[in-house]
């Protein structure tokens, strides 16, 4: 099994700012996934990140809002840009089967 960590674990941000979330895996994985869990909701896939190529975004999510980096096979970042209160969610990264602990974001 993969052990996945995320930073920060939580944050409170002001409207209009950006936050970058880091995801570290303890082993090399081909694909990393970024999910969003809005309050009281299920998980929705934002994008899939392959090393060395641009991330592939799901319908309703765009690169300008959620830029992703994947510099190597154990690390990825997700940036939530120009935040609004509607971006308040838990953001989880994962491999195809395992997930990090999540980043709890509150936008004021």
């Amino acid at each position: 099994s993969a052990v996945i960590s995320q930073k920060p674990s939580r944050d409170i941000c002001q409207r209009g700012t950006s936050l970058t979330i880091q995801c570290q895996v303890d082993s090399q994985v081909t694909m990393m996934f970024w999910y969003r869990q809005q309050p009281g909701q299920s998980l929705t896939l934002i994008a899939t990140a392959n090393q060395g190529s641009e991330a592939t975004y799901e319908s309703g999510f765009v690169i300008d809002k959620f830029p992703i980096s994947r510099p190597n096979l154990t690390f990825s970042t997700l940036t939530v840009s120009n935040m609004s209160p509607e971006d308040s969610s838990i953001y989880l990264c994962g491999s195809i089967q395992y997930f990090g602990p999540g980043t709890r974001l509150l936008v004021l």
Binding site: T44, T48, R104
Partner: protein
């Protein structure tokens, strides 16, 4: 597109009693099915998965799930519930999305409440 449904928003059970959390699936081809648990203020923890083979899958923390092809179900079960099992449970199916990549599609979640 593949999907899973969790028909119950909440399941209540007394400690020591057996518990069942229901999941039905809609897939084309052979399903890859998963169960996860989310404790308050915690991430998503993998419990078990069905890929192929035995219809009864055993997982973490004493949980098991039964794959039933004729009923298109993958219910999560535990013979004797603990208060500490109280959490949010998600069923998921792996599918190849429009992007060409494999991804997990989650159900809406079922809150399990085990009373002492």
């Amino acid at each position: 597109a593949q999907s899973v449904a969790q028909p119950e928003d909440q399941v209540n059970v007394a400690e020591g009693n057996p518990l069942t959390v229901k999941c039905t699936y809609s897939v084309s081809g052979n399903p890859y099915l998963f169960w996860y648990v989310q404790y308050p203020n915690r991430g998503l923890q993998f419990l078990l998965k069905y890929i192929t083979g035995d219809n009864l899958v055993k997982g973490s923390y004493g949980f098991e799930a039964e794959f039933n092809k004729s009923q298109t179900s993958f219910h999560l079960k535990k013979p004797s519930a603990l208060v500490s099992d109280s959490a949010l449970y998600f069923c998921a199916v792996r599918e190849r999305g429009n992007t060409g990549f494999q991804k997990l599609v989650f159900g809406t979640g079922t809150r399990l409440l085990v009373s002492p």
